[in-house]
């Protein structure tokens, strides 16, 4: 949509390999593509041609059945009255009964039709038209357009005056629709399902949709060609432009019709002249090229650089892994090595340790000799605390003994 309007060639209907002119593409064919919108609108619009169906209102209830209630060794379901026939006493009413009514009978007052907002419908048509101008979408829908010269395919107005089907077929073939028409013919098959017994026996694919401005015989000419449909440009139907809700129908415009599209829909600025209060849909994003936006200098200049993720790996135990211990505790392997050396005979560290040990033992011996002999032993120092009491007790005992001896005497 950001680019200048492309130019579409008009092909001569008599000699389709020749171009009679060019025309700028109407803005409507550059509408944003909204498959969701088309699908939604189609779904609702398609419901509007439905005919009601329902079971008879009285179905299953046209008996005077009544329950026999309890006490008669039968189930309590209502039973047909009377006698003399098989029907008598049989269950009635109830969806479980034979000949009874259905559960939740279908009704004619079901809401068959749906209303769709006018703007929504118009947007959907614009979107479907835009899709019909894109070869990949048309091919994706299943149309065979390999031989078609250009999309959108615009043919000079002479085609509108065709009256003979034979001629119309020739023209279409010359325009490159031969494969498409053949596809339709080949696809005729019997419908799967009950429709075949309801006057809808055959189904076939859809072919091109010819959009004209003035009907000077074209509809009658094209009518009998299998798969081909005609539509007046004033009255475009979404159900034809996007059959089944999928946009991208193969459309052939006549020159007049193509020109009229601009008159009907106008531009985004002008609004649609022929549709009161309507402007063509705008895209949600004008520039939808995300990668270009993201990689543009405007965006990149404000971003911080991409960072590597933190990875912590598996936790290892430093007490088991010497490498990790050195990483966490620098110098630990060195210190440990020194320590190890101290227990190896012959190393200077070992000698150091032994020297210290010797000195310690010497000290201890000297100390003991000085302090732990005679009255300085552990026991003696301990008992010193009890000396006073021991002396007092001894004195007391001596005094008692002296008294006793005195008493005896």
């Amino acid at each position: 949509m950001a680019t200048a309007r492309p130019v579409v060639s008009i092909y001569n209907f008599e000699n389709p390999s020749e171009k009679t002119g060019t025309m700028p593409m109407p803005v409507v064919l550059q509408s944003p593509l909204r498959p969701d919108l088309v699908r939604e609108v189609h779904r609702d619009m398609a419901k509007n041609k439905r005919q009601a169906y329902a079971v008879k209102p009285k179905a299953g209830y046209d008996t005077a059945a009544a329950s026999w209630c309890t006490g008669r060794a039968v189930a309590r379901i209502p039973r047909a009255p009377g006698g003399g026939t098989h029907r008598a006493g049989q269950a009635a009413f109830g969806n479980q009964a034979r000949g009874g009514g259905m559960f939740n009978p279908t009704t004619v007052w079901r809401r068959w039709h749906r209303r769709v907002n006018v703007t929504k419908k118009r947007h959907a048509v614009a979107c479907a038209l835009a899709a019909s101008a894109l070869p990949p979408l048309v091919m994706a829908r299943g149309h065979k357009i390999n031989q078609v010269a250009e999309l959108p395919l615009v043919v000079s107005d002479g085609i509108q005056s065709l009256t003979k089907t034979k001629q119309a077929k020739e023209t279409l073939k010359k325009l490159g629709c031969g494969e498409e028409l053949q596809k339709v013919i080949d696809s005729k098959s019997i419908r799967a399902g009950q429709g075949k017994a309801r006057n809808r026996r055959y189904v076939k694919r859809l072919g091109p949709l010819v959009i004209y401005n003035e009907d000077n015989g074209i509809t009658r000419a094209m009518r009998n060609i299998p798969g081909v449909e005609c539509a007046h440009v004033d009255r475009l139907n979404l159900l034809r432009l996007a059959p089944g809700g999928s946009f991208g129908r193969f459309v052939i415009f006549t020159e007049g019709a193509f020109k009229k599209l601009s008159d009907i829909y106008g531009t985004l600025k002008s609004g649609a002249p022929k549709k009161k209060g309507y402007t063509l849909p705008r895209a949600a994003m004008v520039n939808a090229d995300l990668s270009r936006i993201i990689n543009s200098t405007e965006v990149q200049s404000v971003l911080r650089p991409k960072m590597e993720r933190y990875t912590h790996g598996i936790k290892r135990n430093a007490l088991k892994s010497k490498e990790l211990m050195e990483e966490l505790n620098p110098g630990s392997t060195e210190r440990k090595a020194v320590q190890q050396k101290a227990s190896q005979k012959g190393t200077p560290e070992y000698d150091e340790v032994q020297k210290k040990k010797k000195a310690r033992i010497e000290e201890s011996k000297k100390y003991n000799k000085e302090h732990k002999k005679g009255d300085e032993t552990f026991y003696k120092t301990l008992m010193k605390a009890f000396e006073a009491k021991a002396a007092a007790d001894a004195a007391k005992k001596a005094a008692e003994k002296a008294e006793d001896e005195e008493d005896e005497e």
């Binding site: 990689n295 650089p305 960072m307 936790k315 990483e327 966490l328 120092t381």
Partner: protein
């Protein structure tokens, strides 16, 4: 930060036409790669300096531990010599382990255990010994066992089961960088710094202990005696203060 730039190499086939955007990207990546190289070199240099300092500090710490232990021995001997009693210094550091599960926990002890970050069975935390902590422990006595860890226990816990809280995540202490980033502003740059701060209950104990995620210990090999009763009861039990004997238990739980 520049050392973590993710540089993507764009492989351009020989002689191929390079699209404009790809060219722009290549130029940008080149510049970033340059910055990254410089940052990495600077980081390497800083790392080497830091490691040298850490090495010195570690040697000083080991001397400090040896000296304090020797000092205590000296004081004990002196006291005995003089016939005095040596009053052992009160413990400054305790390690608390949650013994009870989470079911049927009264609200008050439950709250206290939450505050102490003991939210799971066999979780352990280091705590400073002060009046408020002792009062809190009083409330949760039957649900925890605690005691005074030795240097060996502290080292082993931190090296084997040390995880740090880095932007609310539990990150293993696999590198001193993690510690430096989190605690650098308190002068703690490595494992030995953490161990020193914890064991000696330094001025930044709170920050360091909070940085350490609560230790998730295994159940003790050889089992508990009886979790339903207190350690100090005659019949034998496990909860409460078991002072120095916590080291034996932690040796089996670590």
């Amino acid at each position: 930060m520049a050392e973590r730039y993710a540089i993507s190499k764009v492989n351009v086939p020989e002689g191929a036409a390079v699209p404009e955007l790809v060219k722009m990207k290549m130029e940008k990546e080149e510049k970033l790669a340059e910055e990254k190289k410089q940052a990495l070199a600077a980081k390497q240099k800083a790392r080497e300096e830091e490691r040298a300092k850490l090495k010195e500090r570690t040697v000083a710490y080991e001397k400090e531990y040896a000296d304090t232990a020797a000092e205590l021995v000296k004081l004990r001997r002196e006291a005995k010599l003089n016939g005095n009693f040596f009053v052992e210094p009160e413990a400054k550091l305790i390690f608390v382990v949650r013994i009870a599960g989470i079911m049927k926990m009264s609200p008050k002890p439950r709250k206290v255990l939450q505050l102490l970050r003991l939210k799971q069975l066999h979780n352990g935390v280091f705590l400073k010994v002060n009046k408020p902590i002792l009062n809190m422990l009083k409330l949760v006595q039957p649900y925890v066992t605690y005691g005074y860890p030795s240097l060996k226990t502290v080292r082993e816990l931190i090296y084997k089961r040390g995880f740090g809280k880095v932007s609310k995540q539990r990150i293993p202490l696999s590198s001193n960088d993690i510690i430096s980033d989190a605690l650098g502003k308190h002068g703690i740059h490595g494992m030995e710094d953490i161990i020193h701060e914890i064991y000696t209950v330094g001025p930044n104990f709170k920050q360091v202990s909070n940085f350490l995620w609560p230790f998730k210990l295994s159940s003790p090999k050889g089992g508990f005696v009886n979790k339903r009763h207190g350690y100090c009861e005659a019949r034998g039990g496990d909860w409460g203060n078991r002072e120095e004997l916590i080291n034996e238990l932690l040796g089996r739980m670590n």
